[in-house]
């Protein structure tokens, strides 16, 4: 009775408010995370405003939701409270989690015309691997990245190496690394050869090594991992040997956040990190640097990373259609070029790279093309059901091997057993 009274009061209030609006606007709420420095948030807000200026019938509330971790927590909490946003950018690897929570809808329902189908087919396949499962598309690539190798040309020249040639293979990386290590009179290292950060989320860069060793960490259904594959073990043994056997990398867990700084300070002559750091390195490196693809072993390889657009359940088809329209617009070459130049994220469609803006940018700064060219060799980032937990198990195993608590084979076999126990429910 009481509830009914409130409802009717709320309804009449809502009607009154709607009536007061000039046009019947479609309201959308859009959550986005920011994971890199610079003007990422301002760029998204500016793009959203541009879109609203062109489409007066649609009003988008762009909400900065913190880190990727914060964003997914907020989205899940809001959706559980029946208050989900219409669209959000979230990690591409959280796709299975969001499906499992029954929170997202595939884009396929909104792909009707040939033009729509062409749009969906126009993204780099490497980015779509993390966006599709079971024949449906759940994510549209937006702020996507991939790790690349940065090297200090001055340090290379000083060590008697060709400053324009980065290592092309695992062996070369070790050989060059040995030449690049510098020690002071006490025998303490002042410059390491290479730095592959292993703190926080070591699986990501490690996936570069495992892919180069020609093995995939998880299947595309997201319910089976290959952590104990001999090739994965071999890749982990190589990573560990960089510190223990070859002495070209700092031992122990190497901090992710301090890596660019260590590179600028000359603490390391080479580093592996995301292409998202490109603008940062360009601004702050006090020496001439090069950007190259990660070295190869059995093949070239790298993971992709970063965030996709998702559509959330719980709102009208009309709102979702408007959201899809916005996503189409923001991934168009012109908008996408602005976004890439502001952040360093890899533009997810080849068409963007053909725009005059991007061509001028790449002519001025050819390093931006390395990440794009590497996409040909890139694979889906590790992603499974209960992704955060499975990834955590894998990270713990990597950390245990890197810090010498367990050997690679034991650590990975244990991780595989734990992952199997969780994923069995999804097969």
């Amino acid at each position: 009775m009481f509830a009914k009274a409130i409802k009717s009061a709320a309804l009449s209030a809502a009607v009154a408010i709607c009536g007061a609006l000039p046009a019947q606007a479609t309201d959308l709420q859009f959550y986005f995370p920011v994971a890199v420095g610079g003007g990422a948030a301002e760029t998204i807000e500016a793009l959203t405003k541009d879109y609203m200026a062109q489409n007066p019938g649609i009003s988008i509330d762009a909400v900065y939701a913190g880190s990727y971790q914060d964003t997914i927590a907020k989205v899940i909490t809001a959706a559980r409270g029946g208050n989900a946003p219409q669209l959000s950018v979230a990690l591409s690897v959280d796709m299975f989690t969001l499906i499992d929570e029954d929170l997202i809808v595939p884009f396929d329902d909104f792909i009707k015309t040939d033009e729509d189908r062409a749009w969906l087919a126009s993204f780099y396949p490497a980015f779509m691997e993390n966006s599709q499962t079971g024949g449906k598309t759940y994510g549209i690539p937006f702020q996507r990245s991939t790790p690349v190798l940065y090297w200090n040309k001055e340090a290379f020249a000083a060590a008697g190496l060709d400053p324009n040639t980065p290592p092309a293979t695992w062996e070369e990386m070790v050989e060059m690394g040995k030449k690049l290590v510098k020690k002071d009179e006490n025998g303490n290292v002042t410059q390491w050869g290479v730095r592959i950060p292993t703190s926080g989320f070591p699986y990501w860069l490690f996936q570069g090594l495992s892919t180069q060793n020609d093995v995939i960490l998880a299947n595309s259904e997201g319910n089976k991992t290959n952590f104990d594959d001999p090739k994965v073990v071999e890749a982990l043994e190589y990573l560990v040997s960089l510190s223990t056997e070859h002495g070209v990398m700092e031992p122990g867990i190497v901090e992710w956040g301090a890596t660019p700084k260590a590179f600028f300070e000359g603490q390391t002559a080479m580093m592996w990190t995301t292409t998202g750091n490109l603008t940062n390195v360009r601004k702050n490196a006090p020496f001439d640097f090069g950007v190259g693809m990660l070295p190869a072993n059995k093949r070239r390889g790298a993971p992709t990373g970063g965030g996709n657009f998702y559509l959330f359940k719980g709102t009208s088809q009309e709102q979702l259609a408007a959201a899809v329209d916005f996503i189409k617009w923001i991934t168009e070459p012109e908008q996408s070029a602005k976004w890439t130049m502001a952040t360093g994220y890899v533009a997810p469609r080849p068409a963007t790279w053909d725009t005059p803006t991007m061509q001028a940018y790449a002519a001025d700064f050819p390093a931006v093309l390395v990440a794009r060219d590497q996409l040909e060799f890139a694979v889906a980032e590790l992603s499974t059901y209960e992704n955060q937990r499975v990834t955590r198990i894998f990270n713990d195993a990597l950390a245990a091997a890197i810090t010498g608590q367990k050997d690679a084979a034991t650590a990975l076999a244990e991780a595989q057993a734990q992952a199997d126990a969780i994923l069995a429910a999804y097969r």
């Binding site: 029954d102 955060q388 245990a400």
Partner: protein, 290 residues
């Protein structure tokens, strides 16, 4: 008692009771209730599973690891920060030039948010060009990786905690020291008592109620302060610096396994409840100077 007084009494405590019930007791009961169910996922509703979550807890090596870590964390931080707080309070109690400055310096870590503190210490600990390595480098020592090694990560986190907490506890000791009548120590000195005797026989016993209060706070904080772990280590390497509350957060809000998170929370509630009751029952009889 007048009937109307009785009504007023209840009305006066009503707001406090409502809020305490809504935000403390109700969530605690819900947590216990949820620990007997499986985690609901969008496609699977929650099911009653009895004690299955508790069985899983007993079999979970990470749970035992964080419990042991938390024990070491408590043992390492509580006595040390209380002792430091007392020494600091005693040292700034007497008058000397620049006393206000030293007091402020001791208290500064308390004023800073823990996240900011952790970021400062992250720079101290950074291998190669961090403050600690720059200092040890002068003496020809190689670089250290305190946060990146499982043997030292927890200790490094504990140092930050002690640094942060000691100043806070100092304030309570400082206040308590002001209330001790100076005649007592003057009389003792006339009797020929040494400074040590004065401290152990007069000051320390009179500070016991404060020590009880501070130690309860320290115990609670040793389970409650995990903000810096997010910044410093993320619980790594391989859970070497993970604590119970950090694990609860990860389980509930990263893995979204809310039922198991609830089960871990029940353990925490029980532990804190027991510790608080124990401290009051055992120590309360002994702390007051008679």
């Amino acid at each position: 008692m007048d009937r109307r007084d009785w009504v007023y009494g209840w009305l006066l405590v009503l707001p406090a009771m409502v809020f305490l019930g809504l935000f403390t007791h109700l969530p605690a009961i819900t947590t216990i209730w949820n620990s007997f169910f499986s985690t609901p996922r969008g496609r699977r509703p929650k099911l009653f599973v009895g004690l299955e979550n508790y069985q899983r807890l007993l079999d979970d090596p990470v749970f035992w690891k964080v419990m042991v870590n938390n024990l070491w964390f408590a043992l390492g931080t509580i006595p040390l920060s209380i002792a430091l707080a007392l020494i600091m309070a005693l040292s700034v109690q007497r008058a000397f030039a620049g006393r206000a400055l030293v007091r402020m310096a001791y208290f500064t870590p308390t004023v800073l948010p823990l996240i900011a503190v952790a970021n400062i210490w992250l720079f101290f600990y950074t291998p190669g060009f961090g403050l600690i390595d720059q200092i040890t480098g002068v003496f020809g020592l190689g670089q250290s990786n305190l946060l990146g090694s499982p043997d030292t990560a927890l200790v490094a986190v504990m140092v930050v905690t002690v640094w942060k907490e000691a100043g806070f506890f100092m304030i309570f000791y400082l206040a308590a020291l002001q209330t001790i009548p100076p005649q007592l120590s003057e009389a003792a000195k006339i009797e020929g008592a040494s400074a040590g005797t004065v401290f152990w026989r007069i000051t320390f016993p009179l500070l016991m109620p404060t020590t009880l209060f501070v130690s309860i706070n320290a115990v609670i904080n040793s389970f409650r302060m995990v903000d810096h772990i997010f910044v410093l280590t993320g619980g790594g390497p391989d859970n070497a610096s993970s604590l119970l509350l950090f694990y609860i957060y990860e389980t509930s809000f990263r893995f979204w396994d809310t039922a198991y998170g609830a089960t871990l929370t029940v353990v925490m509630l029980a532990l804190l409840g027991l510790l608080a009751i124990g401290q009051f029952l055992i120590f309360d009889k002994k702390v007051h100077y008679k």
